[in-house]
């Protein structure tokens, strides 16, 4: 459903993403894995269509070209500090313009947003802000969702509920692409895995392969090596 052909993104004379070719299929549960600064966020923003590649092409099927088909939860908290949770949801629901009442209510329920419904963003804890960020990023009931470290600071209970809910969505056909450094999330939410380092997509693989020692990593990728072997041990 999403095809990347030699996609590059160059900025200030350095390649943040370097000639990546790969594809995402409908219904995938994909995680992009790699050390800090590998270019994971940049690649996600490219795929979500927020930034344009400086080289190569990204083609998508008709399903993704429709309005509101793409959801994106940014790594930073893109929220208005002095508005309440309620105001955020109302505003973005209006912005999205489609009727996704049930979907939004499911999300509010799963993340228990009602507990701090009328609080301003700057009065919330880090984890609460993450929950709002997550909800807003998916408010339009997307066909594919890009989640950039969505669970940082989210408590285990909410994380567990959220993972269950995302898996339910996936069973209904929603494609999930995400970045995380949390192996627990990877285990529960991913099948496929892209290993990234210094702007390069080193390997398209599966969680299964990585975890069960069946993957031969190139020697050059020391950081990635450590990240994986640390988990295996």
């Amino acid at each position: 459903m999403l095809q990347l052909n030699n996609v590059s993104y160059r900025k200030s004379k350095s390649d943040l993403v370097n000639s990546v070719s790969a594809s995402v299929h409908a219904g995938d549960r994909l995680t992009i894995f790699g050390p800090n600064g590998a270019g994971k966020s940049t690649l996600m923003r490219l795929m979500a269509g927020i930034i344009e590649p400086t080289g190569g092409t990204i083609t998508s099927n008709d399903l993704l070209k429709a309005k509101n088909a793409i959801g994106y939860v940014p790594q930073q908290l893109a929220l208005f500090n002095n508005l309440t949770v309620k105001e955020h949801l109302r505003f973005y629901r209006k912005m999205a313009g489609n009727n996704t009442e049930n979907f939004i209510n499911e999300m509010i329920e799963t993340l228990q947003l009602k507990n701090f419904w009328n609080k301003q963003i700057d009065e919330l804890s880090g984890g609460m802000k993450r929950k709002v960020n997550l909800t807003v990023g998916m408010i339009q009931q997307p066909e594919i969702v890009f989640l950039d470290e969505p669970f940082v600071g989210v408590d285990l209970a909410a994380k567990h509920d959220m993972l269950n809910w995302l898996n339910q969505l996936n069973k209904r056909g929603v494609t999930i692409v995400f970045v995380t450094h949390d192996w627990q999330v990877i285990h529960q939410l991913a099948d496929k895995m892209w290993l990234m380092e210094s702007g390069n997509l080193l390997q398209e693989t599966t969680v299964d392969e990585v975890v069960h020692n069946r993957l031969e990593l190139p020697n050059t990728s020391t950081a990635l090596h450590k990240m994986i072997s640390f988990h295996r041990s």
Binding site: R45, P74, A78, N82, L83, E87, M95
Partner: protein
């Protein structure tokens, strides 16, 4: 969209900039303008070649106005260019006879320059004084026509009693512009205008800063993804324009100084410049640096242009010079 404005108006800075600073500026500046208006009496020259009695009578009637009237017997248009006269009114030789016979056609000729502002008030007062006489004369004529036994003079005087409130009238003045060209804004107002403009660019800069914050926070990306248009830029642009023009409008009403047509594009130009900074300059602080440099440069260029030290086309790159047309 209303929620966005709510978020803006929840910031204290917004209130400081949009309410407190205008009030403070108003308190400092308004008396300044009031002073210049009340202290300066406007020089008006009245020319009456035959030195008629009615001239004195008319001038006495409008004595209490802020005009300093000089009566002469010959017309000298140079007074307008030197600024010794804000306007010149030439009375017809037969003024009295014309009034009594009800003829108001071209009895006064009015000379003024592009820089004459408040002489219109003198015209109104003069017209009113003349008109009251014309109407009384007419009334007296009619009465004495039907009742020949009454004295014309008596009715003329009597008619005065019935002359309050004064009628709304239109009077035929021959209106002649002199082609003299002098500095378009007098020195007291220069400072005022540039302070107003600096305030406006500060206000617009503040709204641009908010736009920057939304960009770095990723809010604009979010809107882009949901809307798939750039329509929120337009909302910003139009919203800020509306605010800027409302402020300018109120300020201009208070100052009561007529402006040339280009002046009305100044707020628009300023918003546009800030928006271009937003597009071209990626960092908030660089934007501030640019904006401040631009304002300071504009300030200097404006003064130099007003003193006619520079007169090239490029000075119009600096928005306040549009005031000078």
């Amino acid at each position: 969209m209303l929620i966005i404005w709510k978020s803006i108006f929840k910031r204290i800075t917004t209130w400081v900039l949009m309410v407190l600073i205008p009030i403070v500026l108003g308190i400092i500046i308004y008396p300044m303008i009031k002073d210049t208006v009340s202290q300066v009496s406007v020089p008006i020259t009245v020319v009456d070649q035959t030195d008629q009695a009615i001239t004195e009578e008319l001038l006495k009637e409008i004595e209490d106005s802020p005009f300093q009237v000089t009566k002469t017997e010959s017309l000298d248009l140079r007074l307008l260019s030197t600024g010794e006269a804000e306007a010149i009114f030439v009375f017809n030789d037969e003024l009295e006879a014309n009034i009594l016979s009800g003829n108001t056609d071209k009895i006064v000729t009015w000379y003024r320059t592009e820089n004459s502002y408040v002489d219109g008030l003198f015209k109104e007062k003069l017209a009113s004084a003349i008109m009251s006489r014309v109407v009384r004369a007419e009334a007296a004529s009619i009465v004495s026509h039907y009742r020949p036994e009454t004295e014309w003079d008596e009715v003329f005087k009597y008619g005065l009693k019935y002359f309050d409130p004064r009628p709304i009238f239109e009077m035929k003045f021959e209106h002649i512009h002199s082609a003299q060209n002098t500095s378009s804004i007098d020195s007291g107002n220069q400072l005022l205008f540039i302070i107003m403009w600096l305030y406006l660019s500060m206000l617009i800069g503040y709204f641009t800063k908010i736009l920057y914050e939304w960009r770095t926070d990723g809010i604009l990306e979010r809107l882009k993804l949901l809307q798939q248009t750039q329509y929120y830029y337009w909302s910003w642009f139009i919203g800020v324009l509306a605010i800027t023009y409302s402020f300018s409008f109120v300020a201009i009403q208070l100052i009561e100084v007529p402006l040339n047509n280009w002046a009305y594009f100044i707020p628009f130009g300023t918003v546009l410049i800030c928006f271009l900074f937003f597009i071209l300059v990626k960092k908030k602080w660089s934007m501030y640096a640019w904006l401040i440099s631009y304002s300071v440069a504009s300030f200097i260029i404006f003064l130099l242009a007003d003193w006619q030290i520079i007169e090239s086309e490029w000075m119009y790159l600096f928005i306040p010079t549009w005031l000078l047309g």
